[in-house]
């Protein structure tokens, strides 16, 4: 069997295994849609609907990325599945890329769903280049959250993982201005929002539609790239610690 086939099968089976968990799929898709319909369509129109499309899309892609990694890896560890795979000739990157591709599929579904709702019901009008760019920002933006989920999945027990992810996910979303527009938050919280990758991702998205806070593009990019690199290093460290490759 070729290496490419392993990567393909690993990704496919990870996706269908997650897809067969309605308890994961339904909230992942329903929450961002519900929030957007409620706050972005029913209670707001025009510019606010466009603004909230970006912030709720960010909110939407963060969840599955963090939950899919954290819960499934913690559970694979707890049930010995990861041990069996590690003792088999499965290449570790195939396992991680499979989880990442599942997160990307969820991101894509959420993006398409939200964009459709925005265009059909909230009358959001963007250039095709803007739609495309926004989708790209959101897809790439899945990475840092997948890495956070990976680190949590490698360090937490399967019982603790969902709780801890929520404890991080919901405050992080709120403090990054994904629920309430960032400029409505107190100044202290606005300044503190710089530590959250989700703040920078939403600002990049808002830049596409020209509704960001006006900081330089390169600053947001820099923070996202640096934090992703740091998170990746932490993930590798956690993995090595877990597998005893480092005392």
């Amino acid at each position: 069997m070729s290496t490419a086939a392993i990567y393909r099968k690993e990704a496919w089976y990870d996706l269908i295994s997650v897809w067969r968990t309605p308890g994961f799929v339904i909230p992942s898709l329903a929450f961002p849609l519900m929030f957007y319909l409620f706050f972005g369509v029913v209670f707001n129109t025009g510019a606010a609907s466009t603004y909230m499309l970006v912030t709720y899309a960010c909110f939407g892609i963060m969840g599955p990325a963090m939950f899919n990694f954290a819960m499934n890896i913690a559970s694979d560890r707890a049930h010995g599945w990861l041990t069996l795979k590690r003792l088999s000739p499965m290449p570790v990157p195939a396992y991680l890329l499979a989880k990442f591709s599942t997160a990307l599929v969820f991101s894509l579904v959420i993006i398409v769903a939200l964009f459709t709702v925005a265009a059909l019901f909230a009358d959001v009008r963007l250039h095709s280049a803007q739609w495309f760019l926004l989708a790209m920002v959101l897809l790439l933006g899945t990475l840092p959250f997948a890495l956070i989920g990976l680190i949590l999945g490698l360090t937490l027990s399967d019982k603790a993982a969902p709780g801890v992810v929520n404890l991080l996910y919901l405050p992080m979303a709120f403090l990054s201005g994904l629920w309430l527009p960032i400029h409505l938050l107190p100044t202290v919280l606005q300044q503190a929002s710089w530590i959250w990758p989700s703040y920078h991702l939403s600002q990049l998205g808002l830049k596409v539609i020209d509704m960001d806070q006006g900081h330089a593009l390169w600053l947001h990019l820099l923070v996202l790239v640096v934090s992703s690199v740091l998170l990746a290093a932490l993930a590798v460290w956690s993995f090595k610690r877990l597998t005893g490759q480092k005392a």
């Binding site: 010995g80 599945w81 003792l87 088999s88 000739p89 499965m90």
Partner: protein, 309 residues
């Protein structure tokens, strides 16, 4: 006796402790191709730690491990060894939402020269459950699937940690047959078990592990002979006090007229018994089952330790 050069597994002087708690002290063993080694021991003896250490899942303090001729420390990097290794761990659960066939398809894709997914389903004996999700299988069916996955790559060295846990008698016998076939194919098998009958049935050699030390090793027959205990049973008119006073008698039980004695000096006991009771009939003398031999061995080591302490 055995050629030492081509050992499939060679473990020398393995030590492992967690803080002050010593789990393995100086474990040395080797297994050659076509040999089945059973590791027996009570709970907490260090069996699973030993397997985990051999597989590199647990870091050891000292000692050397060679799998299929290669040092184990290089295993993490060596895909070549992992292609030839089969493992079934005690805590083993697959993705709950994938079907039997999907698990086999995924796992067989990892190996260059392994079984096809359909062959694996057949090895697990789950042809009738191909589309059933892992979570819906019975405990025994799960074990059978995990066993089949351990053979996915047509391995040369197989580790089975309590393989028949939760299996019914029929499934257990079928797994024993499969282990027998592995042996014929020249595969080296290491298994830990609680079922002593399993060790007796399968193993060429048995290691008894207690508190991280190998307290006995040998063929199942040799191990049994290690304890001279015999079970003597007969119909006798003697009362309990008279029976317990006989030479060598350690234990006595009574079922209606029939009495059962455990003796450490069976010849002496029988001689005295026949002299004391002329009416004695239906005399039977047999060796203790491996289970008891093994209990006596481990209990013995505990007593000495208590005395030492």
């Amino acid at each position: 006796m055995k050629p030492q050069t081509d050992a499939a597994l060679k473990v020398s002087n393995l030590h492992k402790s967690y803080n002050s708690n010593v789990v393995l002290q100086g474990v040395t063993l080797d297994v050659v191709p076509g040999e089945v080694l059973a590791i027996l021991g009570p709970n907490g003896a260090g069996k699973t730690t030993l397997i985990s250490a051999i597989l590199g899942l647990v870091k050891t303090d000292s000692g050397e491990i060679r799998l299929l001729g290669q040092r184990q420390d290089s295993m993490a990097r060596s895909m070549a060894i992992r292609q030839k290794l089969g493992v079934m761990m005690q805590v083993g659960s697959l993705s709950a939402n994938l079907t039997v066939f999907e698990q086999c398809d995924l796992f067989s894709s990892y190996f260059h020269n392994g079984y096809s997914p359909t062959e694996l389903v057949g090895l697990a004996g789950l042809e009738g459950h191909v589309k059933q999700r892992f979570s819906r299988l019975s405990g025994g069916q799960k074990q059978r699937l995990l066993f089949a996955l351990a053979l996915a790559g047509k391995p040369q060295l197989v580790f089975l940690d309590e393989p028949t846990l939760g299996m019914d008698v029929e499934a257990r016998r079928s797994l024993w047959q499969q282990v027998g076939r592995l042996k014929q194919q020249g595969v080296a098998v290491v298994l830990t078990t609680h079922y002593l009958e399993e060790a007796e049935q399968l193993a060429d050699r048995v290691l008894v592990l207690d508190q991280g030390v190998i307290v006995a090793s040998g063929s199942p027959a040799e191990l049994k002979a290690l304890t001279q205990y015999k079970v003597i049973s007969c119909h006798s008119a003697l009362d309990n006090a008279a029976l317990l006073a006989l030479p060598g008698v350690q234990e006595l039980s009574r079922d209606n007229k029939r009495i059962t004695l455990h003796s450490s000096q069976p010849e002496q006991t029988v001689k005295a018994l026949l002299l004391a009771d002329e009416s004695l009939h239906q005399l039977e003398v047999r060796s203790v089952a491996l289970e008891q031999a093994f209990l006596q061995l481990t209990q013995g080591s505990k007593t000495t330790e208590e005395q030492a302490a």
